[in-house]
Symmetry: C2
Subunit: 303 residues, 2 copies
Protein backbone atom coordinates (compact mmCIF):
# COMPACT_ATOMS: atom_id res chain seq x y z
CA UNK A 1 0.00 0.00 0.00
CA UNK A 2 1.19 3.49 -0.93
CA UNK A 3 -0.22 6.59 0.78
CA UNK A 4 -2.10 9.03 -1.46
CA UNK A 5 -1.79 12.78 -1.16
CA UNK A 6 -5.33 14.15 -1.51
CA UNK A 7 -5.59 17.71 -2.89
CA UNK A 8 -9.20 18.51 -3.66
CA UNK A 9 -11.92 20.99 -2.86
CA UNK A 10 -14.05 17.88 -2.32
CA UNK A 11 -11.53 16.27 0.04
CA UNK A 12 -14.18 15.22 2.58
CA UNK A 13 -16.11 13.25 -0.04
CA UNK A 14 -12.99 11.65 -1.50
CA UNK A 15 -11.57 10.87 1.95
CA UNK A 16 -14.75 8.91 2.75
CA UNK A 17 -14.65 7.05 -0.54
CA UNK A 18 -10.93 6.24 -0.24
CA UNK A 19 -11.18 5.18 3.40
CA UNK A 20 -14.05 2.86 2.51
CA UNK A 21 -11.74 1.32 -0.07
CA UNK A 22 -9.06 0.89 2.61
CA UNK A 23 -6.57 3.42 1.20
CA UNK A 24 -4.07 5.38 3.25
CA UNK A 25 -4.47 9.14 2.80
CA UNK A 26 -2.29 12.16 3.49
CA UNK A 27 -3.70 15.67 3.40
CA UNK A 28 -2.35 19.22 3.65
CA UNK A 29 -0.79 20.83 5.52
CA UNK A 30 1.21 17.57 5.36
CA UNK A 31 3.07 17.37 2.05
CA UNK A 32 5.53 14.53 2.74
CA UNK A 33 8.61 14.80 0.54
CA UNK A 34 8.46 11.06 -0.17
CA UNK A 35 4.96 11.32 -1.71
CA UNK A 36 4.71 9.09 -4.79
CA UNK A 37 1.03 9.52 -5.62
CA UNK A 38 -1.12 12.63 -5.67
CA UNK A 39 -4.82 12.82 -6.45
CA UNK A 40 -6.81 16.00 -7.02
CA UNK A 41 -7.60 19.09 -9.04
CA UNK A 42 -4.88 20.17 -11.49
CA UNK A 43 -4.47 23.67 -10.01
CA UNK A 44 -3.92 22.34 -6.49
CA UNK A 45 -1.49 19.72 -7.77
CA UNK A 46 0.42 22.42 -9.63
CA UNK A 47 0.83 24.45 -6.42
CA UNK A 48 2.15 21.37 -4.58
CA UNK A 49 4.57 20.21 -7.28
CA UNK A 50 7.63 22.08 -5.89
CA UNK A 51 7.19 20.17 -2.61
CA UNK A 52 6.96 16.73 -4.22
CA UNK A 53 10.44 15.81 -5.52
CA UNK A 54 9.61 12.09 -5.52
CA UNK A 55 6.24 12.28 -7.27
CA UNK A 56 5.68 9.35 -9.63
CA UNK A 57 1.99 9.62 -10.46
CA UNK A 58 -0.60 12.42 -10.41
CA UNK A 59 -4.26 11.61 -11.06
CA UNK A 60 -6.37 14.62 -12.07
CA UNK A 61 -10.05 14.64 -11.08
CA UNK A 62 -10.76 16.64 -14.23
CA UNK A 63 -10.35 15.97 -17.94
CA UNK A 64 -8.71 19.35 -18.56
CA UNK A 65 -5.16 19.54 -17.16
CA UNK A 66 -3.86 22.76 -18.76
CA UNK A 67 -2.40 24.07 -15.51
CA UNK A 68 0.01 21.12 -15.38
CA UNK A 69 1.17 21.44 -19.00
CA UNK A 70 3.29 24.59 -18.62
CA UNK A 71 6.75 23.54 -19.99
CA UNK A 72 8.45 25.24 -17.01
CA UNK A 73 6.86 22.72 -14.62
CA UNK A 74 8.39 19.35 -13.64
CA UNK A 75 7.34 16.47 -15.91
CA UNK A 76 9.19 13.66 -14.22
CA UNK A 77 5.97 11.90 -13.23
CA UNK A 78 3.06 10.21 -14.99
CA UNK A 79 -0.01 12.40 -15.31
CA UNK A 80 -3.39 10.72 -15.77
CA UNK A 81 -6.64 12.59 -16.22
CA UNK A 82 -10.32 11.79 -15.88
CA UNK A 83 -11.45 10.29 -19.14
CA UNK A 84 -14.16 7.89 -20.19
CA UNK A 85 -16.48 8.99 -17.39
CA UNK A 86 -17.74 12.15 -19.09
CA UNK A 87 -19.11 10.71 -22.32
CA UNK A 88 -22.62 10.01 -21.10
CA UNK A 89 -22.87 13.29 -19.14
CA UNK A 90 -21.66 15.26 -22.15
CA UNK A 91 -24.14 13.40 -24.39
CA UNK A 92 -26.96 14.38 -22.08
CA UNK A 93 -25.86 18.00 -22.11
CA UNK A 94 -25.20 18.35 -25.84
CA UNK A 95 -28.33 16.50 -26.96
CA UNK A 96 -30.44 18.24 -24.33
CA UNK A 97 -29.44 21.60 -25.82
CA UNK A 98 -29.74 20.39 -29.42
CA UNK A 99 -33.25 19.13 -28.72
CA UNK A 100 -34.20 22.32 -26.87
CA UNK A 101 -32.97 24.25 -29.92
CA UNK A 102 -34.91 22.17 -32.46
CA UNK A 103 -38.03 22.00 -30.31
CA UNK A 104 -37.85 25.75 -29.58
CA UNK A 105 -38.19 25.09 -25.87
CA UNK A 106 -37.53 28.70 -24.83
CA UNK A 107 -39.88 30.11 -27.51
CA UNK A 108 -42.65 27.78 -26.35
CA UNK A 109 -42.05 28.77 -22.75
CA UNK A 110 -42.24 32.45 -23.67
CA UNK A 111 -45.50 31.81 -25.59
CA UNK A 112 -46.92 30.22 -22.45
CA UNK A 113 -46.05 33.34 -20.42
CA UNK A 114 -48.25 35.41 -22.74
CA UNK A 115 -51.01 32.76 -22.93
CA UNK A 116 -50.34 32.25 -26.63
CA UNK A 117 -51.22 28.88 -28.17
CA UNK A 118 -48.13 28.58 -30.37
CA UNK A 119 -48.55 25.37 -32.32
CA UNK A 120 -46.03 26.29 -35.02
CA UNK A 121 -43.96 23.41 -36.36
CA UNK A 122 -40.59 22.67 -34.80
CA UNK A 123 -37.54 20.95 -36.18
CA UNK A 124 -36.13 17.50 -35.65
CA UNK A 125 -32.65 16.05 -35.09
CA UNK A 126 -33.24 13.16 -37.46
CA UNK A 127 -31.47 13.63 -40.77
CA UNK A 128 -29.29 16.53 -39.61
CA UNK A 129 -25.48 16.64 -39.74
CA UNK A 130 -23.30 17.24 -36.69
CA UNK A 131 -19.63 18.14 -36.82
CA UNK A 132 -17.39 17.25 -33.88
CA UNK A 133 -14.20 19.22 -33.34
CA UNK A 134 -12.26 16.50 -31.55
CA UNK A 135 -13.17 12.82 -31.36
CA UNK A 136 -11.63 11.44 -28.18
CA UNK A 137 -13.67 9.44 -25.71
CA UNK A 138 -16.16 12.30 -25.20
CA UNK A 139 -16.45 13.04 -28.91
CA UNK A 140 -17.01 9.37 -29.67
CA UNK A 141 -19.77 9.18 -27.05
CA UNK A 142 -21.40 12.20 -28.71
CA UNK A 143 -21.05 10.51 -32.10
CA UNK A 144 -22.76 7.38 -30.77
CA UNK A 145 -25.69 9.39 -29.43
CA UNK A 146 -25.89 11.36 -32.67
CA UNK A 147 -26.18 8.15 -34.68
CA UNK A 148 -28.85 6.88 -32.29
CA UNK A 149 -30.93 9.97 -33.15
CA UNK A 150 -30.39 9.49 -36.88
CA UNK A 151 -27.76 12.18 -37.50
CA UNK A 152 -24.80 12.06 -39.84
CA UNK A 153 -21.52 12.60 -37.99
CA UNK A 154 -18.40 14.38 -39.19
CA UNK A 155 -15.27 14.22 -37.06
CA UNK A 156 -12.35 16.66 -37.17
CA UNK A 157 -9.20 15.23 -35.58
CA UNK A 158 -5.43 15.52 -35.85
CA UNK A 159 -5.02 12.01 -37.17
CA UNK A 160 -7.19 9.54 -35.34
CA UNK A 161 -10.05 7.68 -36.99
CA UNK A 162 -10.84 5.34 -34.17
CA UNK A 163 -14.50 6.05 -33.45
CA UNK A 164 -16.86 3.75 -35.36
CA UNK A 165 -19.80 6.18 -35.06
CA UNK A 166 -18.17 8.87 -37.19
CA UNK A 167 -19.37 8.80 -40.81
CA UNK A 168 -16.57 10.98 -42.24
CA UNK A 169 -13.25 12.11 -40.86
CA UNK A 170 -11.54 15.41 -41.66
CA UNK A 171 -8.04 16.57 -40.76
CA UNK A 172 -6.03 19.74 -41.15
CA UNK A 173 -6.33 21.58 -43.58
CA UNK A 174 -9.87 20.33 -44.33
CA UNK A 175 -11.65 22.60 -41.85
CA UNK A 176 -13.71 24.38 -44.58
CA UNK A 177 -15.01 21.09 -46.01
CA UNK A 178 -15.72 19.85 -42.48
CA UNK A 179 -17.74 22.98 -41.60
CA UNK A 180 -19.69 23.48 -44.80
CA UNK A 181 -23.41 22.64 -44.54
CA UNK A 182 -23.20 21.52 -40.89
CA UNK A 183 -26.37 21.84 -38.84
CA UNK A 184 -24.50 21.64 -35.55
CA UNK A 185 -20.88 22.25 -34.64
CA UNK A 186 -19.69 20.91 -31.28
CA UNK A 187 -16.24 21.61 -29.88
CA UNK A 188 -14.78 18.97 -27.56
CA UNK A 189 -11.11 19.72 -28.21
CA UNK A 190 -8.69 20.03 -25.30
CA UNK A 191 -7.10 23.41 -24.67
CA UNK A 192 -3.71 23.39 -26.43
CA UNK A 193 -1.77 25.82 -28.56
CA UNK A 194 -3.02 24.03 -31.70
CA UNK A 195 -6.69 24.35 -30.78
CA UNK A 196 -6.54 27.98 -29.63
CA UNK A 197 -9.14 30.10 -31.47
CA UNK A 198 -9.92 27.31 -33.92
CA UNK A 199 -13.49 28.60 -33.89
CA UNK A 200 -12.93 31.97 -35.53
CA UNK A 201 -14.38 34.12 -38.31
CA UNK A 202 -12.75 31.90 -40.94
CA UNK A 203 -14.38 28.72 -39.66
CA UNK A 204 -17.71 30.45 -38.98
CA UNK A 205 -17.67 31.76 -42.55
CA UNK A 206 -18.04 28.17 -43.77
CA UNK A 207 -20.98 27.39 -41.48
CA UNK A 208 -24.53 27.82 -42.84
CA UNK A 209 -26.67 30.55 -41.20
CA UNK A 210 -28.85 27.86 -39.57
CA UNK A 211 -25.95 26.27 -37.69
CA UNK A 212 -25.87 25.99 -33.90
CA UNK A 213 -22.50 25.99 -32.14
CA UNK A 214 -21.93 24.25 -28.80
CA UNK A 215 -18.68 24.52 -26.85
CA UNK A 216 -18.08 21.87 -24.21
CA UNK A 217 -14.32 21.78 -24.76
CA UNK A 218 -12.32 24.78 -23.68
CA UNK A 219 -13.06 28.51 -23.84
CA UNK A 220 -9.68 29.07 -25.50
CA UNK A 221 -10.94 27.28 -28.63
CA UNK A 222 -13.17 30.24 -29.47
CA UNK A 223 -12.28 33.69 -30.76
CA UNK A 224 -14.95 35.41 -28.68
CA UNK A 225 -14.97 38.62 -30.75
CA UNK A 226 -15.58 36.61 -33.92
CA UNK A 227 -18.33 34.56 -32.31
CA UNK A 228 -20.09 37.66 -30.98
CA UNK A 229 -19.95 39.24 -34.41
CA UNK A 230 -21.44 36.10 -35.97
CA UNK A 231 -24.27 35.94 -33.42
CA UNK A 232 -25.17 39.62 -33.57
CA UNK A 233 -25.24 39.49 -37.38
CA UNK A 234 -27.10 36.20 -37.73
CA UNK A 235 -24.19 34.44 -39.46
CA UNK A 236 -25.15 31.39 -37.38
CA UNK A 237 -28.39 30.51 -35.58
CA UNK A 238 -27.03 30.43 -32.06
CA UNK A 239 -24.45 29.20 -29.59
CA UNK A 240 -24.44 27.31 -26.31
CA UNK A 241 -21.28 27.89 -24.32
CA UNK A 242 -20.44 25.80 -21.31
CA UNK A 243 -16.93 27.24 -21.24
CA UNK A 244 -15.48 30.71 -21.84
CA UNK A 245 -12.00 32.20 -21.82
CA UNK A 246 -12.61 33.81 -18.42
CA UNK A 247 -14.55 31.88 -15.79
CA UNK A 248 -16.58 33.04 -14.00
CA UNK A 249 -17.50 35.38 -16.83
CA UNK A 250 -16.85 39.05 -15.90
CA UNK A 251 -20.05 40.92 -15.19
CA UNK A 252 -19.56 43.32 -18.08
CA UNK A 253 -18.79 40.62 -20.68
CA UNK A 254 -20.95 40.96 -23.81
CA UNK A 255 -21.76 37.21 -23.77
CA UNK A 256 -24.31 37.69 -20.96
CA UNK A 257 -26.73 39.40 -23.31
CA UNK A 258 -25.56 38.31 -26.74
CA UNK A 259 -28.26 37.35 -29.22
CA UNK A 260 -29.13 33.65 -29.36
CA UNK A 261 -26.41 32.74 -26.88
CA UNK A 262 -26.95 30.43 -23.91
CA UNK A 263 -24.43 30.16 -21.08
CA UNK A 264 -24.26 27.17 -18.75
CA UNK A 265 -21.37 28.05 -16.44
CA UNK A 266 -19.07 25.03 -16.85
CA UNK A 267 -21.63 22.52 -15.61
CA UNK A 268 -21.93 20.23 -18.64
CA UNK A 269 -20.06 17.29 -17.18
CA UNK A 270 -19.37 17.56 -13.46
CA UNK A 271 -16.79 15.22 -11.93
CA UNK A 272 -18.97 13.07 -9.69
CA UNK A 273 -16.64 11.83 -6.93
CA UNK A 274 -18.08 8.30 -7.03
CA UNK A 275 -17.15 7.95 -10.71
CA UNK A 276 -13.75 9.61 -10.42
CA UNK A 277 -12.88 7.60 -7.34
CA UNK A 278 -13.85 4.30 -8.99
CA UNK A 279 -11.69 5.19 -11.99
CA UNK A 280 -8.77 6.07 -9.69
CA UNK A 281 -9.06 2.88 -7.67
CA UNK A 282 -8.74 0.80 -10.84
CA UNK A 283 -5.66 2.76 -11.84
CA UNK A 284 -4.26 2.43 -8.31
CA UNK A 285 -4.47 -1.36 -8.56
CA UNK A 286 -2.57 -1.15 -11.84
CA UNK A 287 0.02 1.08 -10.22
CA UNK A 288 0.58 -1.35 -7.35
CA UNK A 289 0.78 -4.27 -9.80
CA UNK A 290 3.32 -2.43 -11.93
CA UNK A 291 0.95 -2.39 -14.92
CA UNK A 292 0.67 0.58 -17.32
CA UNK A 293 -1.74 3.23 -16.09
CA UNK A 294 -4.85 4.22 -18.04
CA UNK A 295 -5.67 7.73 -19.29
CA UNK A 296 -2.07 8.91 -19.42
CA UNK A 297 -1.68 12.51 -20.61
CA UNK A 298 0.92 13.25 -23.28
CA UNK A 299 2.57 16.46 -22.01
CA UNK A 300 3.51 17.47 -25.55
CA UNK A 301 0.13 16.81 -27.20
CA UNK A 302 -1.59 18.34 -24.20
CA UNK A 303 -4.21 15.61 -23.70
CA UNK B 1 -56.58 2.23 -59.65
CA UNK B 2 -59.21 3.48 -57.19
CA UNK B 3 -59.81 7.22 -56.70
CA UNK B 4 -59.02 8.59 -53.24
CA UNK B 5 -61.18 11.17 -51.51
CA UNK B 6 -58.76 13.66 -49.94
CA UNK B 7 -60.06 15.47 -46.83
CA UNK B 8 -57.24 17.39 -45.22
CA UNK B 9 -56.26 20.85 -44.11
CA UNK B 10 -52.99 20.09 -45.91
CA UNK B 11 -54.75 19.01 -49.13
CA UNK B 12 -52.39 20.98 -51.36
CA UNK B 13 -49.35 19.18 -49.99
CA UNK B 14 -50.97 15.76 -50.12
CA UNK B 15 -52.36 16.37 -53.61
CA UNK B 16 -48.84 17.05 -54.86
CA UNK B 17 -47.45 13.96 -53.16
CA UNK B 18 -50.27 11.72 -54.42
CA UNK B 19 -50.14 13.08 -57.95
CA UNK B 20 -46.40 12.45 -58.06
CA UNK B 21 -47.21 8.86 -57.10
CA UNK B 22 -49.75 8.68 -59.95
CA UNK B 23 -52.88 8.42 -57.78
CA UNK B 24 -56.33 9.64 -58.80
CA UNK B 25 -57.75 12.16 -56.33
CA UNK B 26 -61.23 13.48 -55.60
CA UNK B 27 -61.71 16.54 -53.42
CA UNK B 28 -64.65 18.43 -51.89
CA UNK B 29 -67.09 19.75 -52.78
CA UNK B 30 -67.17 16.45 -54.73
CA UNK B 31 -68.13 13.60 -52.38
CA UNK B 32 -68.94 10.83 -54.88
CA UNK B 33 -71.36 8.31 -53.39
CA UNK B 34 -69.27 5.45 -54.81
CA UNK B 35 -66.14 6.54 -52.86
CA UNK B 36 -64.33 3.47 -51.50
CA UNK B 37 -61.24 5.14 -50.02
CA UNK B 38 -60.93 8.30 -47.98
CA UNK B 39 -57.72 9.85 -46.65
CA UNK B 40 -57.50 12.69 -44.16
CA UNK B 41 -58.00 14.09 -40.70
CA UNK B 42 -60.45 12.17 -38.49
CA UNK B 43 -62.77 15.16 -37.88
CA UNK B 44 -63.15 15.85 -41.59
CA UNK B 45 -63.74 12.17 -42.32
CA UNK B 46 -66.40 12.07 -39.63
CA UNK B 47 -68.27 14.97 -41.23
CA UNK B 48 -68.19 13.24 -44.61
CA UNK B 49 -69.24 9.77 -43.38
CA UNK B 50 -73.02 10.28 -43.98
CA UNK B 51 -72.26 10.98 -47.66
CA UNK B 52 -70.11 7.87 -48.17
CA UNK B 53 -72.41 4.82 -48.10
CA UNK B 54 -69.86 2.70 -50.00
CA UNK B 55 -66.80 3.56 -47.94
CA UNK B 56 -64.49 0.56 -47.49
CA UNK B 57 -61.30 2.12 -46.12
CA UNK B 58 -60.46 5.34 -44.24
CA UNK B 59 -56.83 6.26 -43.60
CA UNK B 60 -56.35 8.80 -40.81
CA UNK B 61 -53.38 11.19 -41.04
CA UNK B 62 -53.22 11.20 -37.25
CA UNK B 63 -52.61 8.56 -34.60
CA UNK B 64 -55.60 9.70 -32.51
CA UNK B 65 -58.95 8.82 -34.11
CA UNK B 66 -61.39 9.51 -31.24
CA UNK B 67 -63.81 11.43 -33.43
CA UNK B 68 -64.44 8.29 -35.51
CA UNK B 69 -65.00 5.99 -32.52
CA UNK B 70 -68.43 7.29 -31.44
CA UNK B 71 -70.64 4.12 -31.42
CA UNK B 72 -73.42 6.05 -33.19
CA UNK B 73 -71.22 6.41 -36.31
CA UNK B 74 -71.05 3.88 -39.17
CA UNK B 75 -68.36 1.21 -38.71
CA UNK B 76 -68.84 -0.73 -41.90
CA UNK B 77 -65.38 0.20 -43.18
CA UNK B 78 -61.77 -0.45 -42.22
CA UNK B 79 -60.15 2.40 -40.29
CA UNK B 80 -56.36 2.69 -40.30
CA UNK B 81 -54.41 5.33 -38.42
CA UNK B 82 -50.92 6.80 -38.57
CA UNK B 83 -48.67 4.60 -36.50
CA UNK B 84 -44.99 3.77 -36.48
CA UNK B 85 -43.97 7.18 -37.84
CA UNK B 86 -44.13 9.07 -34.53
CA UNK B 87 -41.69 7.09 -32.40
CA UNK B 88 -38.56 9.04 -33.22
CA UNK B 89 -40.31 12.43 -33.06
CA UNK B 90 -41.83 11.55 -29.68
CA UNK B 91 -38.45 10.36 -28.43
CA UNK B 92 -36.91 13.67 -29.38
CA UNK B 93 -39.67 15.56 -27.60
CA UNK B 94 -39.80 13.48 -24.41
CA UNK B 95 -36.03 13.23 -23.97
CA UNK B 96 -35.56 16.87 -24.89
CA UNK B 97 -37.86 17.84 -22.02
CA UNK B 98 -36.42 15.26 -19.61
CA UNK B 99 -32.92 16.57 -20.30
CA UNK B 100 -34.04 20.20 -20.00
CA UNK B 101 -35.55 19.25 -16.63
CA UNK B 102 -32.46 17.47 -15.31
CA UNK B 103 -30.07 20.08 -16.69
CA UNK B 104 -32.24 22.92 -15.33
CA UNK B 105 -32.22 24.63 -18.72
CA UNK B 106 -34.76 27.30 -17.75
CA UNK B 107 -33.06 28.01 -14.41
CA UNK B 108 -29.72 28.46 -16.15
CA UNK B 109 -31.31 30.74 -18.71
CA UNK B 110 -32.85 32.83 -15.97
CA UNK B 111 -29.47 33.04 -14.18
CA UNK B 112 -27.97 34.35 -17.39
CA UNK B 113 -30.61 37.11 -17.56
CA UNK B 114 -29.41 38.39 -14.16
CA UNK B 115 -25.70 37.89 -14.98
CA UNK B 116 -25.43 35.23 -12.29
CA UNK B 117 -22.71 32.56 -12.66
CA UNK B 118 -24.84 29.63 -11.49
CA UNK B 119 -22.54 26.60 -11.49
CA UNK B 120 -24.72 24.53 -9.18
CA UNK B 121 -24.80 20.82 -9.95
CA UNK B 122 -27.53 19.45 -12.18
CA UNK B 123 -29.02 15.98 -12.45
CA UNK B 124 -28.55 13.23 -14.95
CA UNK B 125 -30.82 10.78 -16.76
CA UNK B 126 -28.49 7.85 -16.24
CA UNK B 127 -29.70 5.52 -13.51
CA UNK B 128 -33.19 6.99 -13.29
CA UNK B 129 -36.44 5.06 -13.73
CA UNK B 130 -39.09 5.99 -16.28
CA UNK B 131 -42.64 4.67 -16.29
CA UNK B 132 -44.55 4.49 -19.56
CA UNK B 133 -48.34 4.49 -19.47
CA UNK B 134 -48.91 2.61 -22.72
CA UNK B 135 -46.30 0.68 -24.69
CA UNK B 136 -47.45 0.65 -28.31
CA UNK B 137 -45.11 1.66 -31.12
CA UNK B 138 -44.52 5.12 -29.61
CA UNK B 139 -44.04 3.79 -26.08
CA UNK B 140 -41.59 1.19 -27.32
CA UNK B 141 -39.59 3.86 -29.16
CA UNK B 142 -39.44 5.85 -25.91
CA UNK B 143 -38.34 2.72 -24.05
CA UNK B 144 -35.52 2.17 -26.55
CA UNK B 145 -34.29 5.74 -26.12
CA UNK B 146 -34.59 5.46 -22.35
CA UNK B 147 -32.39 2.36 -22.34
CA UNK B 148 -29.87 4.12 -24.57
CA UNK B 149 -29.53 6.81 -21.89
CA UNK B 150 -29.15 4.23 -19.11
CA UNK B 151 -32.63 4.39 -17.60
CA UNK B 152 -34.69 1.56 -16.19
CA UNK B 153 -38.04 1.25 -17.97
CA UNK B 154 -41.41 0.23 -16.53
CA UNK B 155 -44.32 -0.33 -18.87
CA UNK B 156 -47.99 -0.21 -17.95
CA UNK B 157 -50.20 -1.93 -20.53
CA UNK B 158 -53.51 -3.79 -20.76
CA UNK B 159 -51.85 -7.09 -21.58
CA UNK B 160 -49.07 -6.68 -24.08
CA UNK B 161 -45.45 -7.38 -23.24
CA UNK B 162 -44.06 -7.06 -26.72
CA UNK B 163 -41.42 -4.35 -26.35
CA UNK B 164 -37.93 -5.72 -25.62
CA UNK B 165 -36.72 -2.43 -24.10
CA UNK B 166 -39.12 -2.56 -21.15
CA UNK B 167 -37.48 -3.91 -17.98
CA UNK B 168 -40.73 -4.62 -16.08
CA UNK B 169 -44.34 -4.81 -17.15
CA UNK B 170 -47.33 -3.86 -15.00
CA UNK B 171 -51.02 -4.37 -15.69
CA UNK B 172 -54.26 -3.46 -14.00
CA UNK B 173 -54.56 -3.35 -10.96
CA UNK B 174 -50.80 -2.79 -10.42
CA UNK B 175 -50.85 0.96 -10.99
CA UNK B 176 -49.55 1.78 -7.45
CA UNK B 177 -46.56 -0.56 -7.80
CA UNK B 178 -45.90 0.83 -11.27
CA UNK B 179 -45.91 4.44 -10.02
CA UNK B 180 -43.99 4.07 -6.78
CA UNK B 181 -40.47 5.53 -6.87
CA UNK B 182 -40.66 6.59 -10.53
CA UNK B 183 -38.47 9.50 -11.56
CA UNK B 184 -40.48 10.19 -14.70
CA UNK B 185 -44.01 9.25 -15.72
CA UNK B 186 -44.88 9.54 -19.41
CA UNK B 187 -48.38 9.00 -20.75
CA UNK B 188 -48.68 7.70 -24.31
CA UNK B 189 -52.06 6.00 -23.95
CA UNK B 190 -54.75 6.54 -26.59
CA UNK B 191 -57.92 8.36 -25.56
CA UNK B 192 -60.48 5.70 -24.64
CA UNK B 193 -63.03 5.21 -21.87
CA UNK B 194 -60.54 2.98 -20.03
CA UNK B 195 -57.73 5.54 -20.05
CA UNK B 196 -59.88 8.55 -19.09
CA UNK B 197 -58.45 10.32 -16.02
CA UNK B 198 -55.97 7.50 -15.35
CA UNK B 199 -53.59 10.22 -14.11
CA UNK B 200 -55.52 11.34 -11.06
CA UNK B 201 -54.92 12.05 -7.36
CA UNK B 202 -54.77 8.32 -6.61
CA UNK B 203 -51.98 7.66 -9.11
CA UNK B 204 -50.14 10.89 -8.22
CA UNK B 205 -50.24 9.85 -4.57
CA UNK B 206 -47.93 6.97 -5.42
CA UNK B 207 -45.40 9.13 -7.26
CA UNK B 208 -42.40 10.51 -5.34
CA UNK B 209 -42.24 14.32 -4.92
CA UNK B 210 -39.30 14.47 -7.34
CA UNK B 211 -41.25 12.93 -10.22
CA UNK B 212 -41.80 14.70 -13.53
CA UNK B 213 -44.94 13.93 -15.53
CA UNK B 214 -45.08 14.24 -19.33
CA UNK B 215 -48.28 13.82 -21.32
CA UNK B 216 -47.88 13.12 -25.03
CA UNK B 217 -50.94 10.86 -25.20
CA UNK B 218 -54.33 12.46 -24.81
CA UNK B 219 -55.57 15.28 -22.58
CA UNK B 220 -58.43 13.06 -21.44
CA UNK B 221 -55.94 10.81 -19.59
CA UNK B 222 -55.42 13.51 -16.96
CA UNK B 223 -57.71 14.73 -14.20
CA UNK B 224 -56.66 18.34 -14.57
CA UNK B 225 -57.92 19.43 -11.15
CA UNK B 226 -55.89 16.69 -9.48
CA UNK B 227 -52.77 17.55 -11.48
CA UNK B 228 -53.07 21.25 -10.66
CA UNK B 229 -53.42 20.43 -6.97
CA UNK B 230 -50.32 18.23 -7.12
CA UNK B 231 -48.26 20.90 -8.88
CA UNK B 232 -49.33 23.77 -6.65
CA UNK B 233 -48.60 21.69 -3.53
CA UNK B 234 -45.30 20.22 -4.71
CA UNK B 235 -46.58 16.63 -4.68
CA UNK B 236 -44.58 16.16 -7.88
CA UNK B 237 -41.68 18.15 -9.32
CA UNK B 238 -43.36 19.29 -12.52
CA UNK B 239 -45.31 18.47 -15.63
CA UNK B 240 -44.90 18.92 -19.36
CA UNK B 241 -48.19 18.76 -21.21
CA UNK B 242 -48.34 18.53 -24.96
CA UNK B 243 -52.06 17.77 -24.81
CA UNK B 244 -54.93 19.07 -22.69
CA UNK B 245 -58.65 18.31 -22.46
CA UNK B 246 -59.50 21.53 -24.33
CA UNK B 247 -57.30 22.59 -27.25
CA UNK B 248 -56.46 25.37 -27.78
CA UNK B 249 -56.40 25.91 -24.03
CA UNK B 250 -58.96 28.58 -22.96
CA UNK B 251 -57.31 31.86 -22.03
CA UNK B 252 -58.48 31.69 -18.42
CA UNK B 253 -57.34 28.08 -17.84
CA UNK B 254 -55.16 27.74 -14.70
CA UNK B 255 -52.59 25.62 -16.62
CA UNK B 256 -51.14 28.73 -18.29
CA UNK B 257 -49.57 29.88 -15.03
CA UNK B 258 -49.45 26.72 -12.96
CA UNK B 259 -46.28 26.12 -10.99
CA UNK B 260 -43.63 23.96 -12.72
CA UNK B 261 -45.89 23.30 -15.68
CA UNK B 262 -44.75 23.60 -19.30
CA UNK B 263 -47.20 23.63 -22.19
CA UNK B 264 -46.21 22.74 -25.75
CA UNK B 265 -49.49 23.12 -27.66
CA UNK B 266 -49.82 19.68 -29.28
CA UNK B 267 -46.59 19.94 -31.25
CA UNK B 268 -44.70 16.93 -29.91
CA UNK B 269 -45.05 14.75 -33.02
CA UNK B 270 -46.39 16.56 -36.05
CA UNK B 271 -47.69 14.49 -38.96
CA UNK B 272 -45.17 15.30 -41.68
CA UNK B 273 -47.03 14.78 -44.97
CA UNK B 274 -44.04 13.03 -46.60
CA UNK B 275 -44.06 10.36 -43.88
CA UNK B 276 -47.83 9.95 -43.74
CA UNK B 277 -48.10 9.81 -47.50
CA UNK B 278 -45.38 7.16 -47.78
CA UNK B 279 -47.17 5.08 -45.15
CA UNK B 280 -50.48 5.47 -47.02
CA UNK B 281 -48.99 4.52 -50.38
CA UNK B 282 -47.74 1.24 -48.95
CA UNK B 283 -51.16 0.51 -47.53
CA UNK B 284 -52.77 1.49 -50.84
CA UNK B 285 -50.70 -1.13 -52.65
CA UNK B 286 -51.89 -3.69 -50.11
CA UNK B 287 -55.48 -2.60 -50.64
CA UNK B 288 -55.23 -2.99 -54.42
CA UNK B 289 -53.57 -6.38 -54.00
CA UNK B 290 -56.30 -7.55 -51.62
CA UNK B 291 -53.79 -7.94 -48.77
CA UNK B 292 -54.62 -7.08 -45.14
CA UNK B 293 -54.04 -3.39 -44.34
CA UNK B 294 -51.54 -2.24 -41.73
CA UNK B 295 -52.34 -0.11 -38.67
CA UNK B 296 -56.00 -1.15 -38.48
CA UNK B 297 -57.90 0.46 -35.59
CA UNK B 298 -60.05 -1.77 -33.38
CA UNK B 299 -63.25 0.29 -32.94
CA UNK B 300 -63.94 -1.39 -29.59
CA UNK B 301 -60.46 -1.07 -28.08
CA UNK B 302 -60.22 2.46 -29.47
CA UNK B 303 -56.72 2.16 -30.97
Amino acid sequence: MKPILLLSKHAVTYRNLFEKAGLMIVEPPDLPADTEIVFGEPGLIRAALPHLPNLRWAQSTWAGVESLLDPSLPRGYTLTNARGVFGSLMSEYVFGYLLAHERKLLTRWQAQQTRTWDASLTGTLKGKTIGLLGVGSIGCALAKTARFFGLTVRGYTRQSRGCPYVNDYFHEPDLPAFASSLDYLVNVLPGTSRTRHIVNAKLIHHLPPGALFINVGRGSAVNETDLLHALENGLIAGAVLDVTEQEPLPENHPFWQAKNLLLTFHTSAPSFPEQISAMFLQNYQRYLAGQPLENIVDFEAGY
